[in-house]
Amino acid sequence: MVLHNTYHRYLLCLLMLLLGHPMWAKTWTICPSCVDSTLKGTIARAQANDTLLVQKGTYREFEIIVDKPLVIKGIGYPIIDGGKKGEIFRIQSDNVTLDGLFIINVGVSYTKDNAAIRVVRSKNFLIQNMVLEQLFFGIYLEKSSHGKVFHNRIIGEAVDEYNSGNGIQLWYSTDIEVRKNHVQGTRDGIYLEFSDRITITENVSMDNLRYGLHFMFSNHDVYTRNTFENNGAGVAVMFSKFITMKDNTFHKNWGTAAYGMLLKEINDAEIVGNTFEENTIGINIEGSNRIQYTNNDFIGNGWAIRVIGACYTNSFKGNNFLYNSFDISYNSKLNDNVFEGNFWSSYTGYDLDRNGIGDVPYRPVKLFSYVVNRTPETIVLLRSLFMDIIDFSERVSPVFTPDNLKDTQPLMKIRP
C-alpha cells in the first residue's frame, strides 16, 4: 500500500509539472496571405516554446530577432529575402531551432559582419536544413555553446576577399557540432576563432576564396571525414593545441600559396588517416611540435610535406607517399622528427630477409628540393637527368641534407 501511494504521488507530481510547463505550446502558421503574414510580427506575439510553421512563399524581412525559445520551421523551403539591407536572423535566446528556410540577399557591409543567421550568447540551438544564398556571412555563432549546425547548404558568390564573408564562423563558441554542411564560394568555408571543443564532421567545403577550414586560437577540436576541395589556399590550422584531424580528404588545392593543409604553431595534434591528393603542397608545417602523422595517404602532390622550420618531435609513421614530385622538403640541416615504417613509391631498396621492410634506409629529402627552395625558378629542371645524377650522389653521401633524416624501416608494399 505504501508503495502504491508513492507511485500515485509521482504521477501527480508529473501531471502538475506538465500542466505548469507550457506543454501545449501553440503552433502558429505563417503564410503570405494568412493573418500572420510576417515572421517578425508572429515572433512578437508567440510565447516561449511555440512552434512557427512558415508556409511556402517569399517573405521580405530582415533583422528578425528571435528572443525567446521557438521552433521556426519552413515547409517547402519558404524564401526569406533580406533585400541586401542587413542581417536576417539574430538568435538571442537559448533553445531555438531553425529548420528548412531558404535565406537570400544578406546585406554587404564594410563595417558590420552581417550574417544570414547570427546566434548571440545562446545555448542549445539547432540550425538545420537551411539553404543560404547570396550571402555575406552565412552562419555566425558568437559566444554561444552546446549547439548544432546540421545539414545546411551555403552557396556564396565571393569574388574578392575584402567584400566577402565566411560560410560558418564560430567566435568564442564552445561545444558545438558542425555536421554534414556544404559550403562553397565564400571567403573561408568554416572559420573558428577562440572556439574550443568543436566537432566538425562530414562537411564539404569547396571553391572558397581563401581557406576551406580555418582555425585560429581554438583548442581541443576534432574534425573528421570532411572534404576540402579546390579552395584558394586549402585548410589552415594556426595557433591551436590538441586538434584531432581524421579521415579528411584534401583535394586539388592548386596555386602558389595553396596547401592541402597549412599548420602553423600547432602543438600536440593528431593527423590520422587523411588523404592528400594533387595539392601543390600537401602539408606545410611551420613551428609545430609533437604532432603524430599516422596512416595518411599523400598522392600526386607537388610537395607531400614541406617543413619550413622549428618543427620538433613530430612523428611520421605508416603513411603512404605515392608519386609526389617531392616527398619531403626541408630548409634546414637540423632534424628532430621521426620517419618510420612509411611506404615511399620512389624507394628503390630491396628486402633480402623478406620481412616486408626494406633493408636500406630511404632518404626522402632530395637535394633538388633545397635548390628549389633557394632558387624557385629551377623548378623547370624537375626530373631532368642532370638533377637525377646530383640527387643520386647526394643520396649516396649526404652533404647538404640532414644525415639522420631517413626512414630506416621503409615498407616494401603499400599500406592498404
Binding site: W254, T280, G302, E377, R383, L385, F386, M387
Partner: protein, 260 residues
Amino acid sequence: MLKILKYSFYDLIRSRWSYVYFLFYLILGFVLLFLNNDVSKAVITLMNVIIVLIPLIGTIFGVMYYYNSREFTELLLAQPIKRSSIFMGQYLGVSGSLALSLVLGLGIPFVLYGLLQSNAIFDFSLLLVTGSFLTFIFVGLSFIIAISNENRIKGFGYAVLLWLFLAVVYDGLFLMSLIVFEEYPLDTFSLVATMLNPIDLSRILILLKLDISALLGYTGAIFKKFFGTDLGFLVSMAILFLWTVLPILGLEYKARKKDF
C-alpha cells in the same frame, strides 16, 4: 623521294637493329608494367627513359646509317634524282622506322595491360608523340653532323657530344646560371632556356601533365600563365614542331651545298 623513303624504310625494317630496338621497348614496357602494376607510375619511369634514350639512339642510329649507306648514296647521286629527295627519303626512312619501333614497342604492352580503360591514356599518348618528335629531331641533327664530316670517327664523336651536351651538360649550365643570377627575375630566362633545348622542352611538355601541381608552386606571373593555362602546352608543342622542321631545312641546305 617516296621510292627512296620506301627503300630505306624497308631496308631498316628488315635490319637486325630495328628488331633489337623494337624488342628493347617491348621488354621495357612489359617489365615496367609487370613490376609496377600501375600504368601512371610506369608513365613516369618511361619519361626518364624516353627523354634520355631516344635522343641517344636517334643520334647514333642516324650517323651509323648515313655512313653505312654512303656508297649507295653516291650511286644514287649519279642517277637523275633530285638531291634533296635522296637525303629526305633516307632521313624519313630512318626516323620513321625508329618512331614506328618506339610506338609499337611501347604501345603493345600498354594496350595489353589495359591502357585503353585507364585514364593515363592521354599522358601516355603524349609520351609517344614527344618520343617520336625527339626521334625526328635527333636523326635530323645526326644527319647534318654526318654530312658535314667525312671522317667517321669525328662524326660519331660529334654526335655523342651533341647528345651529351643537350641531355646533361646543358641542364648543368642552365642550373648554374640560374643560381648565379638568382637575384634577378629569371622566369622568362628559364622558360626561354628550356625552349632552346629539345630534350628540356619535351620534359616540360610531359611535366605539364604529370607534375603540374609542383610546377604551380612557384610564384611568378609568367610561370603561372605558362603552366596554369593551355598556353604552355600549345607553345611547347609549336616549338617542338619548329625544332623538327629546322634540322630538316638544315639538312636540305647541307645536302645542296655538299660536294661529293
